[in-house]
Assembly symmetry: C2
Homo-oligomer: 371 residues x 2
């Protein structure tokens, strides 16, 4: 039975909340203390629109941490595992935020707006506090705040034409992981060629929360005739793309190497949170590793971690899963004993409705559409 | 229309989750990345049980931050505004965690288990990260973790008899804001004379998440004949008691003085996060202040902050509200312009269903039952 969500001011409404309710949002999750639509017509129908047309997502819950001031780059470096000196202005980068124990606290996209100005687009967790406290501990000269910035994702093969109609060629044609800042109808916007779908897509960062309805309507008007559809972050498509969900697929007890994300850790950087633990982890053999899985049976629900066994022994857990129309079976992500993480090992997934035969699979199931 | 909550492993289930579903939990909220029951039979029926009998609440979402080690007290002091040297072992204390700007990040109950050992029982926010980063910045010798500790609240006039039957006289008879550690049927427990209701009550801290069903069943067995009822944190009763909800009634943009909690800030302490800003705030006249309000009309819903006006001018916001059977009208909490915060000023509350006449009122509406 679906759970009912009790509203309260503690669970903030996004600037697009009224628009999403009108558009038929039928379920929500809570993300960075904000309501985030988790379904409209349903995961399969939204998958169809995402993979054949274009979808618009309210992901204002991806709150930003803004770093601004002379020590902004130093403050960013303290809490991220990649070398910030290599991050050019005008580029977006996927980065990791790790605990002192080397676990993954977050996997934001980081935008460098100027030498001394960054936005960190968060997964669910109060990284604002983490960043502020690290900077305070070092006495850095930087302002670290949650700015009035609310992203919308525009994802799918027709997203390029939608963005072209809405904001022109230059914005539409920018390359993967680039972004553009501009003013449209008096509102400051940032549009990046990023997203959480594996499809061609963009994120539109609104810098004035009073203009949510305006931006929503503008995007849907631009999408007329392109099959534009309101949608939630699509679990099927992101699992197919091997894209992780922070908090589900990893947390402080999982390190980047176990996720196959060792390339995101630059141990040549002198100091960042978690560096010592990560240097140790890099030198250790891996006991477990992220893998894809094909899981037999009816559509798989993963409301909580599902145990995985092999020959009756516990060997891991499934942390995400959904039924893929493309593959005609369930695709899933999970951490398993490293000797089983290579493709085509048979394991058993203990779903809430019983045991399921499963086979490990290489990630991603489907390569991302980049350019 | 009530919202549906989409489940995912990112929203953790509490150790009492299955028990609460069986007990009829009908709505949930998300609290520290964990599902927390927000309703069973309904707020009014639960209020009746809470004020005349005894209720049991799954508040495992009140996650703990554990501070352990030689510098534990120093680490606690860095992130709390009261003087930790005055906190005796075996006592619980209401404390504030403030941002560097002096806003309230959290209002935990802090338990001092030993000289070098504390549990901080959190409201909703990742204070674990805040505390860890401050301690790391100072190079303190302390372990700061989220332990396997899950609280249940037992609240209401019959709670004393329930706790006596479950755990004996010594535990039942302890005084307000004391706590006891003991082992029961092989499980380590802490029971404190604290709670979020204003009624006589306790919190039972379970230290083994595999024993949730056991503790739940034990408490309901002990409550037989006492009118024991599963319930959610009761909004009506806590508003009557003037008890705040962190994230709704305050956040980083509200300081303790505005909440009437200046006594919780000890500016004689040399260093803690927010001290400089709080010293400044203490010296400034208050522009706004927390007040109670009686709000006319049908039961008031407060899914988000509601604007408050006076003579047509914006003067504040309502952040919590509910219909009180005791007063036969809505009781509410809000920040208003300080000259209006004294009792019996007429204002207008802009509810989602229209304007409501309201009158400010002294807090608490009802004094807490302490001993």
């Amino acid at each position: 039975m679906p759970l009912t969500l009790a509203e309260s001011p503690r669970l903030r409404r996004s600037p697009f909340y009224d628009a999403t309710i009108r558009a038929g949002a039928s379920a929500f999750t809570v993300y960075n203390h904000m309501l985030l639509p988790a379904a409209y017509a349903g995961m399969e129908a939204e998958y169809e629109a995402l993979t054949t047309a274009v979808t618009v997502w309210d992901v204002a819950g991806e709150r930003q941490v803004e770093f601004k001031g002379p020590d902004a780059a130093r403050a960013v470096q303290l809490v991220t595992t990649r070398d910030v000196t290599k991050h050019r202005v005008g580029r977006a980068r996927y980065v990791l935020v790790c605990s002192e124990g080397g676990g993954v606290l977050n996997d934001p996209v980081l935008l460098r707006l100027a030498d001394d100005h960054f936005w960190m687009s968060l997964a669910d967790r109060d990284i604002l506090l983490w960043a502020q406290a690290w900077a305070a501990g070092r006495g850095l000269d930087v302002e670290i705040t949650e700015p009035d910035v609310s992203p919308v994702q525009v994802q799918g093969p027709n997203s390029r034409e939608l963005i072209r109609r809405a904001f022109g060629d230059a914005v539409a044609d920018q390359r993967y992981f680039r972004f553009t800042r501009f003013t449209h109808a008096g509102v400051d916007l940032v549009v990046s060629r990023t997203g959480w779908s594996g499809e061609y897509g963009y994120e539109v960062f609104l810098t004035d929360s009073s203009r949510g309805e305006w931006l929503w309507d503008l995007l849907f008007a631009a999408g007329e005739g392109l099959g534009v559809t309101p949608a939630a972050p699509n679990q099927i498509r992101r699992i197919e793309g091997g894209i992780l969900s922070s908090g589900s697929d990893m947390d402080d007890h999982v390190n980047p190497y176990e996720l196959g994300l060792g390339r995101m850790v630059d141990l040549d950087v002198e100091e960042f949170a978690g560096r010592a633990a990560l240097a140790e982890a890099a030198a250790r053999p891996l006991e477990r590793l992220l893998t894809g899985l094909f899981v037999a049976g009816p559509p798989l629900a993963v409301p909580c971690h599902l145990p995985v066994t092999h020959d009756g022994e516990p060997v891991g857990r499934v942390s995400s899963g959904a039924c893929s129309p493309r593959f005609g079976t369930n695709v899933a992500l999970g951490l398993v004993r490293s000797d089983l993480a290579e493709p085509e090992h048979g394991v058993v997934v203990h779903a809430e409705d019983g045991e399921r035969a499963a086979v490990t699979a290489a990630l991603p199931f489907v390569e991302a559409t980049k350019d």
